[in-house]
């Protein structure tokens, strides 16, 4: 169920990660990333294996599992795959679809350049990752 270019840009403009981008910048993002769909029960990233890319969820849901135990569920606007790409290490979790999934995909080697080209996307990503660390550590004021 591929979207038209206009629909895709409209969808992207509603996602937090891309909230600071102008319409021409959103068009660049839509052009750079590939739309993909996955059925329920599909494993997209596999714990311990090489990461295959950066994914932004347009619709649907995935579960994040570490050693078979569910840690989180991600939905529209959430993203995954960036940690293992940026660290150059295999994913620490399985990512499996729990609803029909519609994503934008960017190949691993392209992520760093993509973020450098779009500093505000990187800043949004930085905030999300800081929040994750805040939630796992909560030690200092």
């Amino acid at each position: 169920m591929a979207l038209t270019a206009t629909q895709l840009v409209d969808t992207l403009s509603g996602l937090t990660l891309f909230a600071d981008l102008s319409r021409p910048q959103l068009e660049q993002v839509a052009h750079k990333m590939t739309e993909e769909s996955y059925p329920v029960g599909q494993r997209i990233l596999r714990q311990g294996f090489t990461g295959t890319g950066f994914y932004v969820i347009l619709d649907g849901e995935v579960t994040i599992k570490i050693d078979g135990e569910e840690r989180a569920r991600l939905q529209k606007g959430d993203f995954f795959g960036e940690m293992s790409i940026l660290l150059g290490e295999p994913p620490v979790a399985d990512v499996v679809t729990t609803r029909q999934l519609h994503v934008l995909h960017l190949g691993g080697p392209e992520l760093e350049g993509f973020l450098r080209d779009h500093p505000m996307v990187m800043y949004r990503m930085l905030k999300t990752i800081a929040l994750r660390l805040y939630n796992v550590s909560r030690t200092r004021g």
């Binding site: 570490i66 050693d67 960036e82 660290l87 905030k127 800081a130 929040l131 660390l133 200092r140």
Partner: protein, 142 residues
């Protein structure tokens, strides 16, 4: 006497958030970092308030309070509010000056301006945070 940029940079280098960033980026970061002084008993940050800055203690001492309970003592080179400089999250605790205390203070909006013009700094910070999340995850598993 105000601190020189290189002294600020060396104090900021003790903060894990800024580990692995280039000297060039560190100098720019130090340039937008200010100094603040607090009298004994004065609150530096308040629990529950939205955080908007990172502090590194240069001189003096402070205590960390959760409610009325003292949970930690801080001195020179200790820092707090590290993550609130990125996202304005509520403070988990108050920090109160015990002695007259001088701090470096970095405001989140100044960091944001810098990140926009220095993508390498942001990228290094993301990598540093991702590494720490991984380490935390590994600790939970053991």
């Amino acid at each position: 006497m105000p601190l020189k940029t290189e002294h600020k940079a060396s104090a900021l280098a003790s903060v894990p958030l800024f580990q692995g960033i280039s000297q060039d980026s560190m100098a720019r970061l130090a340039a937008v970092t200010g100094e603040q002084e607090f009298e004994p008993g004065q609150n530096i940050v308040l629990q529950g308030q939205v955080g908007s800055g990172l502090y590194v203690i240069l001189e003096g001492s402070a205590r960390v309070l959760r409610g009325s309970e003292v949970v930690a003592q801080l001195g020179p080179n200790d820092f707090f509010g590290e993550l609130s400089v990125i996202d304005q999250m509520p403070r988990m605790a108050s920090v109160q000056a015990v002695q007259r205390t001088r701090c470096l203070a970095l405001a989140s909006w100044d960091l944001l301006d810098l990140l926009e013009s220095d993508p390498k700094l942001a990228l290094n910070m993301i990598k540093g945070l991702a590494t720490r999340i991984r380490e935390q995850g590994e600790q939970h598993q053991h």
